[in-house]
């Protein structure tokens, strides 16, 4: 009995260490330290990178092709900027870590178009001062739970029936 337990413990320890070594970057760690302020302050529209934010449910995160529209040639001495071309040379896609995602168990329908285009709600109302960020935030700046949705819907007299959101 004793030795079985020891073997189990050893097995667990070895599996755990393998998992630790090969695990993905910690959440919030991005492939490139992207600077929102540097871009937005130059007058870049959010939809250049979050392409479908006005037309569809998902805003989407930019692919490397979007970055290369401007960054195919060297633009600054910032090593983070050089990374873009390194990724492109290796043919490696940019795997941005998502900060905002509703719980899949809740199966709620959220549409950016409905809120941004039809509801005229500014991005900052829900995403906080993202445009001011000089580094990627390690975690979501605003916590999205059901109260977050419901409290605004109540205030703006929008439907709060379960079936308006859940599916």
């Amino acid at each position: 009995m004793r030795s079985m337990r020891m073997i189990g413990l050893l097995l667990f320890a070895s599996v755990a260490s393998v998992l630790l070594v090969t695990s993905r970057p910690a959440s919030g760690e991005q492939p490139i330290a992207f600077n929102h302020k540097a871009h937005v302050s130059k007058g870049l529209d959010c939809a250049i990178c979050h392409r479908y934010v006005r037309e569809q449910a998902f805003a989407t995160l930019p692919t490397i092709e979007t970055c290369l529209m401007c960054h195919s040639a060297k633009m600054s001495d910032n090593p983070e900027e050089a990374k873009i071309r390194e990724f492109a040379k290796r043919g490696e896609p940019l795997r941005w870590q998502r900060l905002y995602a509703l719980s899949p168990d809740a199966a709620a329908y959220f549409s950016h178009r409905r809120h941004v285009t039809l509801g005229n709600i500014p991005c900052a109302t829900c995403h906080g001062p993202m445009a001011e960020r000089t580094t990627p935030p390690p975690r979501a700046l605003v916590r999205f739970d059901m109260d977050f949705c419901i409290s605004c819907h109540q205030e703006k007299k929008v439907s709060t029936a379960c079936v308006a959101c859940h599916r």
Binding site: R114, C162, V163, H166
Partner: protein, 227 residues
């Protein structure tokens, strides 16, 4: 406000099962093995009930498509202790899976047997797994599931209508998947309170009846008798 309802013309139904297959695909309804099916664990939010009359060569088959009856006085909603089973302002009965505690009161209360308890983790063969509908929930194990007139389709239709600055039209813009798939046009869907829709006209026709009408559940699914 619209009151969505369905009319099923029994004269037109050929029993082809297109509605049954479409419903499974649209709503990510898990597939079970034949063995599980024999134990009564087959889940069919929409099903076609066959009845054979007479003896060969004088046989006659009747087919009765059966979705959720979408009662105006739904017993399932009444008995749900956690208000997971809800009736929307438009009258559609729908289930918030995240809220369900799996008590199965609704399964007992429903006189039509359209609510299913999912006993196992959902499984699909590989090809179907890749074809799951991202517009609808994949249910956790241990909750009750049932037809909700493809309510997720109404969410999209509402957004389109809102973009045009109007309400969803009573007919044509929002239809459940089974209605869209029926090749015999035996399923007709629309706003029952709008006198201009085919559904509301047919629901008032002398051929129309509803299942177990005397229970007082007032279903929003009407059947048209065979002529």
């Amino acid at each position: 406000m619209a009151r969505w309802g369905m009319v099923i013309d029994l004269d037109r139904c050929t029993g082809c099962q297109a509605c049954v297959v479409t419903c499974k695909a649209e709503n990510n309804v898990p597939v079970v093995t034949p063995r599980e099916a024999q134990r009564g664990r087959l889940m069919l939010w929409m099903t076609v009930i066959p009845e054979v009359e007479g003896e060969f060569p004088r046989v006659r088959a009747r087919f009765t498509p059966r979705p959720c009856m979408q009662c105006d006085h739904p017993p399932c909603v009444k008995v749900c202790p956690v208000q997971a089973m809800t009736k929307s302002p438009e009258g559609t009965v729908s289930h918030v899976f995240a809220r369900c505690i799996g008590c199965r009161f609704c399964v007992q209360a429903c006189p039509y047997g359209v609510t299913y308890f999912n006993w196992q983790a959902p499984t699909w063969p590989k090809d179907l797994r890749e074809a799951l509908n991202p517009d609808f929930a994949i249910r956790p194990t241990g909750v009750v599931e049932m037809c909700d007139f493809c309510h997720h389709r109404l969410q999209h239709a509402r957004e389109e209508a809102r973009a045009d600055g109007r309400e969803v039209r009573g007919e044509g813009e929002y239809v459940p998947a089974c209605v869209q798939a029926c090749p015999a046009r035996a399923l007709i869907f629309g706003d029952l309170d709008d006198p201009n829709t085919a559904a509301s006209n047919l629901a008032h026709s002398p051929r129309a009846f509803r299942m177990l009408e005397d229970l007082g559940t007032s279903p929003k699914v009407y059947y048209l008798k065979e002529g």
